[in-house]
Symmetry: C3
Subunit: 270 residues, 3 copies
């Protein structure tokens, strides 16, 4: 008896209004019957490779250790961008070579990259606009059935290594930005605990737009309903949130806005 | 051979733009390989425990009798709110002890409650902001694999028993409210057939905002295209709808609006 | 041992804010345990049978050859509209007899139609507003378990045969329309390669609103970022798109707008 296929996790910016994701699932199940498919999300903002990379990196460590990740956020589809597979920590990542897969794979180990050039594994006559259906899904199905990346492509020395936006140290403190606004209106910043080297992070002040917020709280209920706060969120970054509400609405925060943390002994605190 | 795992149904207010639901599914499949996961909905309005409870209660009786329901609408995450499991009619409900699970469990039998305090079943070092991933998902996975609630927690005498909004009898008739607006713009009211004790419900008049509608019709086509009507909907309540359109848009109805039914012999009918 | 159940693909206009799709999945898994369920989409615009038929027709050929398609876009639910099953090319299509299923089934072969009148396969006491749950899902579950359409209904000679909007030839060229706007803001037209009988399609001009676009490009990157173009899309039609952006926003296109192609030698080109 053949071993059970690997589970396949999907992440795209295809949204849920069309059948683009559905047709990829059709290809996956046609080529790998019985596969366990699950969605990470299809709500990545259109063509936002950084947001897709953040969600993928945050989710991957929690998934089964043999998961095949099929991720597509691909503004350059049909151009010279290469289809790739990264293998890292037992997991496989299939998608465009534009950096989307890199942070997730690099967080799990030292990725080994493959250029997916075995066209006999693709659908016949692949289109130039839908590699998710025509290239990535059939290759992911083959990998889920036990095929090795070595059989699906050739080793690649120079995959695109995406650097996620990181915080910048300044004499006064640390400067970051809003990376994304989530479903609840939380503003996920690029600031991590490692960025705050201060001995008492609770004594810091976060400056977001015209608002000044206390250092990180442990849960939403630490402030009154409707009040803003800073929390360490599940993506691994500090988030600006509002207890029982939306920080994006309440504080007018948007992607790209600066969020600055001043050290506890900075003049503006006195 | 181990028996097949129980199916797991998910319901949250996490939306579909982030990977919050996806990472929960990763945990479920990592801990319970081969589980049949299915989504009830992730579109419950943010932090609306009543709306979540309504959807869960309406869906649960149709699901496989051994389903584990993993439901999270949890404004109080990270506070003193307890994680619970309710067992009722063979089904198991896992989530926050804020009433979300109660109406569904109570509709299927007499719920037995457990405080999920067996921390060895949780993910290590659970966060204060994402119990769905760190507590509820791993416990649900253990239950789906056949573990009994008794092994995941201790009996709980006083789970939160949520009372759903109900209709109120007045001398003139029955007073209810709009509980939720659905995807089609139907306004689901808190009025049920049991509330209308009148001998001829068709002879009633429903007052919604400034609109007066005839008693319940049997299907949308009972009125002309674009016309409003009242129907008994699939959540078990009377709904104000528009044939081929949106009642919320056409009649300006919103959650919380009053909907009143006057008895057939009331003066305003003459 | 019973053979594995057929996979079941779902397509509806039910959206993702309520548990309407979820309760259908509950019925499917209750009656066909272990079935492989996958979503094509639930984001068909409310009651838009043509858009649903387009997505279903585009997706079906990529799905496993034994798939049971459960599709519901059903403005006439509860009226005289019949529940049907179409069998074509090994695949089965279950849903309302309003044309939704026809284009997909007809593209795969010569459909054989059945009126689903075996009420013992339905849920008891089916409602007049939710045939997806009460009729289509339990019948689809029976078919997925291996029951033949002949056992679920009686042959039907006159199923509704939906004609999708097609292009019209005029002396100057070809006249089409925008069939739908997709998640990325691409405007999918009713124009296909077969409609353009010109020897050099690249030399054509597409007139969309006040905009004139060159003949079809092969991929988005063929024009500069932010610029509009025409492409052959994955639904099989020409699409008006914008590289890295939304054609609907940038060009103000909406469903139903005319898109005209003038032959290369037409006067307006000189």
């Amino acid at each position: 008896m053949a071993p059970a296929p690997r589970p396949i996790a999907l992440l795209t910016d295809f949204g849920v209004t069309d059948a683009y994701v559905g047709v990829m699932k059709g290809v996956l199940l046609a080529r790998c019957p019985g596969a366990s498919l699950f969605d990470l999300t299809h709500g990545v903002p259109a063509q936002d490779v950084v947001a897709g990379a953040l969600h993928l990196r945050a989710a991957a460590p929690y998934c089964p250790p043999d998961t095949v990740f099929l991720a597509v956020v691909d503004p350059g589809v049909g151009g010279t961008r290469r289809p790739v597979c990264l293998r890292s920590g037992g997991r496989l990542f299939v998608g465009p070579d534009n950096g989307l897969l890199w942070p997730a794979a690099a967080a799990l180990g030292t990725p080994k990259a493959f250029h997916l050039d075995r066209v006999d594994l693709w659908l016949p006559a692949p289109s130039a606009t839908f590699h998710g259906r025509d290239i990535f899904a059939p290759v992911a199905a083959a990998l889920a059935q036990g095929r090795a990346p070595e059989e699906a492509g050739t080793p690649l020395a120079d995959p695109v290594r995406l650097e996620l936006p990181s915080a910048e140290r300044t004499p006064e403190g640390v400067q970051g930005e809003v990376l994304l606004i989530d479903h609840f209106g939380n503003a996920v910043t690029s600031l991590t605990p490692a960025d705050l080297g201060f001995p008492e992070p609770e004594a810091c002040r976060f400056h977001a737009g015209e608002h000044v917020l206390r250092g990180p709280a442990t849960h939403y209920g630490a402030v009154a309903l409707g009040e803003p706060l800073v929390l360490l969120g599940s993506l691994g970054y500090y988030e600006v949130a509002v207890n029982g509400g939306s920080a994006a609405e309440r504080l007018g925060l948007r992607r790209g806005d600066a969020v600055t943390v001043l050290a506890p002994d900075h003049a503006s605190y006195r």
